[in-house]
Symmetry: C2
DNA sequence: CAGTGGTCTAGACCACGGT
DNA sequence: CCGTGGTCTAGACCACTGT
């Protein structure tokens, strides 16, 4: 920051959880804005000063204020519109970034040995539930691959995957005993779009047997669908044993 | 009309000169970078051109390239380090933004009527599990509030909440039959930090009774803890009936 | 129309960290 | 050391949209 002649803004200094390490101007502005919103100095629905005004207040360029406010807007706490200005969100629909674990890494960073075990591989006509989920017509044949991810030999995740050979014909030649479907797809298929769905499900017989839990036990599932253009590539459901959780800061 | 029949550049023809249609320069660069990564033109681990080089290619300012690459880096697909340059991530730890629903809105946007029903309110000594989760010493007394969120009269979420009156003394006077704990806290408590944990759990007897499902049924739970500074404010667990899921684009 | 945010530039200095 | 990204500036024009 350059102009030291501007007094520090009179922001109610909320109790900080940790030491403030943000030294850059835009981070200072961002944190001040967050503090003013959370302290209700700027209550929900309120119009906050526009960029030029804040730039003057902080003695910085407007683009620096823009950067700070853009970051705040990304969390959903403020609503920005041209001409209308910037308002504190009335019902802050919070956005949080979720770090989606890559199973192998997840296992190995715990210091455990990672193993992959193929359970089954079949080329079959897709069941209705899978077809409709992937948006495929009747009679479509899909590759159905089931596998287990192991941490030090014990089950870490049960994977039930459907692959559309029309999108990736080469998949039919892959030996899933040697390379996991996920690893092969990650290395060979540049998907253009994906969707992730988190839910809870009761363990079915197969899943329970693999994860060593009771049938019907509460299982955390992550379902992913990926497309190349409009063509669905794969639908994969990864089920984690009871106790699994995923966290993020908000 | 100029010759727009040029196919979408697989290796993008750079040196833009004409006006942009619907996307801005930084978005074009971002999309090109994503396309080159996904098409493996830039394979995992590869060093990509540095900012100045890309700026020259696109005929734009370096800060515009910086904006584009910063957005890509936010998704975890590239790793940027000073002096070392920018590399395509070897194991892309994917980041996805999760939109955390505000229950009332979630219900009302479905066109359903929202209702809130208080089940119980007690001022009790905190159980060990709750204390340790919130990082509170033994003997701490907490306000325990259980409630139900209803959509058109049927259960949409079961809420089990613990509130620390030391952080928010006024909470003891609030009539939870009139206003939900969440609504009151959102309006009155500027938390500085929060943590969200998603998991699956088996429905306990109370939860099952409220959500009209079998005891032990797989329940999707969202647990939130918020702090003011170092002081924990509230720990809330919201449980959703079987079938509930939360989605995001990746 | 006019006010506001969104983008962009052509520079500049600085912080980090590999060599 | 010195190359690279991170930040910042003082402007500028444009796009959107409320009045």
């Amino acid at each position: 920051m350059r102009s030291d002649d501007v007094p520090p803004p009179s922001v109610p200094d909320l109790a900080q959880s940790g030491p403030r390490r943000s030294t850059t101007t835009w981070q200072v502005i961002r944190d001040d804005v967050l503090a003013r919103i959370r302290s209700r100095a700027w209550p929900p629905g309120e119009l906050i000063p526009h960029e030029a005004e804040l730039a003057a207040e902080y003695g910085c360029a407007r683009s620096t204020v823009n950067r700070a406010l853009r970051e705040v807007a990304a969390t959903g706490l403020i609503d920005r519109r041209r001409k209308a200005g910037t308002r504190v969100a009335l019902n802050p629909l919070r956005r949080a970034t979720l770090h989606i674990p890559v199973i192998r890494q997840e296992v190995e960073t715990r210091g455990a040995r990672y193993d992959y075990a193929l359970i089954s591989r079949e080329h079959v006509s897709a069941p209705l539930a899978i077809r409709s989920r992937m948006g495929l017509p009747p009679q479509t044949r899909l590759l159905h691959v089931r596998a287990l991810h192991l941490a030090d030999g014990i089950a870490h995740a049960y994977e039930d995957r459907w692959i559309n050979p029309q999108a990736v014909p080469e998949i039919m030649e892959v030996d899933f005993a040697r390379i996991s479907a996920n690893a092969w797809l990650v290395q060979n298929v540049p998907y253009t779009r994906g969707e992730l769905t988190l839910s809870a499900a009761a363990a079915d017989a197969d899943c329970a047997a693999c994860l060593l839990c009771a049938p019907g036990a509460a299982i955390f599932t992550m379902e992913r669908i990926t497309w190349i253009g409009d063509q669905p590539v794969t639908l994969v459901t990864q089920s984690h044993p009871p106790g699994y959780a995923i966290s993020t800061a908000i």
